[in-house]
């Protein structure tokens, strides 16, 4: 069964500095990987996905994520953080090789706090 781990409950970064939110995964085959962001009292918003191809994928709001198969990681990154990036971030994985229902499994979330 697939699983996702987000090892940090919270990440603190100063505005203007680069940020990284970590995610590792476990699937039996090649994964489909996703990042979502949740602002207070809102639903989750899709940020980006990795399916195949280039290991660096770009998404909304200047975010990008790097897929590393050998380390089974899919870390979310941004070169220069904004205060408005402060939110809860979720990594998710789907195993497209599952013959049954291909559910999306979410990590427990990482709270990003960007200080002015």
């Amino acid at each position: 069964a697939q699983s996702v781990a987000q090892p940090e409950d919270q990440v603190n970064v100063a505005e203007g500095n680069p940020l990284t939110v970590k995610c590792t995964y476990s699937v039996s085959g090649n994964p489909y990987l996703f990042w979502y962001v949740q602002y207070p009292n809102r639903g989750l918003q899709f940020l980006l996905k990795y399916i195949t191809g280039d290991n660096l994928v770009k998404g909304s709001y200047g975010f990008e994520a790097e897929f590393n198969k050998s380390q089974t990681s899919f870390h979310l990154k941004k070169p220069s953080a904004l205060v408005s990036d402060s939110a809860l971030y979720f990594c998710a994985v789907r195993d497209p090789m599952n013959t049954g229902f291909q559910k999306l499994v979410f990590g427990t979330g990482t709270r990003l706090l960007v200080s002015p």
Partner: protein, 113 residues
């Protein structure tokens, strides 16, 4: 905007009462999902639907039932609410692409006293 509306957005109820949450979509998507979000657990799948009258259980389905009589509506029912069902409930639809990313509603916050 993914065209998903959840109602009610907030509800307070008492233990033992029935509760129904509604998810309405305007996108005509086949797959719909109900998740609950709790601190330390992320999002956990309660039930999902893959078409009208076609539903199945997720990982935390005990105490919940669902119905889908029309493509656009997916109802989540708590037959007899318990305090452990206090949570934020999210409905989601699956995109029509092969990669199947989900798009979420704004959530329904349920408090069971």
């Amino acid at each position: 905007d993914a065209g998903i509306t959840q109602s009610p957005r907030h509800k307070v109820t008492e233990t033992g009462t029935p509760v129904t949450l509604r998810c309405h979509q305007t996108e005509n998507h086949r797959y719909m999902y109900w998740y609950r979000q709790d601190p330390g657990h992320g999002l956990r799948l309660i039930h999902y639907s893959y078409g009208v009258k076609d539903t199945d259980k997720g990982e935390v389905s005990d105490g919940y039932s669902v119905s889908r009589s029309k493509t656009e509506d997916f109802l989540l029912t708590l037959e007899s609410a318990t305090s452990s069902q206090t949570s934020v409930y999210f409905c989601a639809i699956r995109s029509g692409t092969d990669t199947g990313e989900l798009f979420f509603g704004e959530g329904s916050r349920l408090t069971v006293l």
